[in-house]
Amino acid sequence: MKHLYTWGAIAAIVLASTTGDVLLARAMKQVGDVGELWHRCGLWKVVGRVARNPYFLFGVLSMTVAFYSLLFALSWGDVSLVGPASASLTFVANAIAARIFLHERVDRRRWMAALLVAGGVALLAG
């Protein structure tokens, strides 16, 4: 039962985290290169610009859900399982989501990486 709870929490982390990652990536692409903006406009302008972006706000909300799911998962399972498993599955889900929603060019090299990571996750769960 504890095992089921752990994997349920991991699934929640992956879903919330992928949604958050995609929203945050879109927000930061709209904001532009932070280093360049900081140099030109100062830190507070950059912070204000990021904080006003609606994608950022919804992204943070999704990440908050992912964070509390992580707290649940860590209270039930080993960090060396929960950490890599949730992060790696999120990585695979992100490759799919980034291609669909962010129009990133996920080429053979990046898909290969996704498969290797998926294999790694299967071993971690074994």
Partner: protein, 144 residues
């Protein structure tokens, strides 16, 4: 990719692995949580290990957002995933968890996946709706 950008990616890795490990240690002290005791989950952030973990995860968030401003999501995530190896080392030597041979092999496979993307381009798509780089109001340019 400049040295400063590699430094940002390293920051993503170190902050994430350290933050997760601190959270893990804190949650061990608190014990198992249940959905029937939600206030305990909120109060979990008062534990010093959890609080320190959150501090490191804020560092992770800042560096992660910076990296996402100039690189693809599918580049940033794998490029910073050497943290899994760091996480396993922390779990084994500091948290004294059992990390089996199969888990080490899994971590090695994940790291190999990193190698595939690390050599490719960091950015493959810039959304057309990107905001103009110059802000509306006049801005003082810092001396360079």
């Amino acid at each position: 990719m400049t040295f400063r950008r590699y430094l940002v990616l390293a920051g993503v890795t170190v902050f994430a692995a350290t933050g997760d490990s601190l959270l893990s240690r804190g949650m061990r002290e608190i014990g198992n949580l249940s959905l029937h005791h939600l206030p305990e989950l909120i109060l979990a952030i008062l534990n010093p290990w959890v609080a320190l973990g959150i501090f490191f995860l804020l560092g992770f968030f800042a560096t992660y957002m910076t990296a996402l401003s100039w690189a693809d999501l599918t580049y940033v995530l794998p490029a910073s995933s050497l943290g899994y190896v760091l996480l396993a080392l922390i779990a084994k030597f500091l948290l004294h968890e059992q990390v089996s041979t199969l888990r080490w092999l899994g971590i090695a496979l994940i790291s190999a996946g990193v190698g595939f993307v690390a050599g490719g381009p960091a950015l493959t798509h810039v959304p057309p709706e990107q905001e103009p780089a110059v802000l509306d109001e006049p801005v003082e340019t810092r001396a360079s």
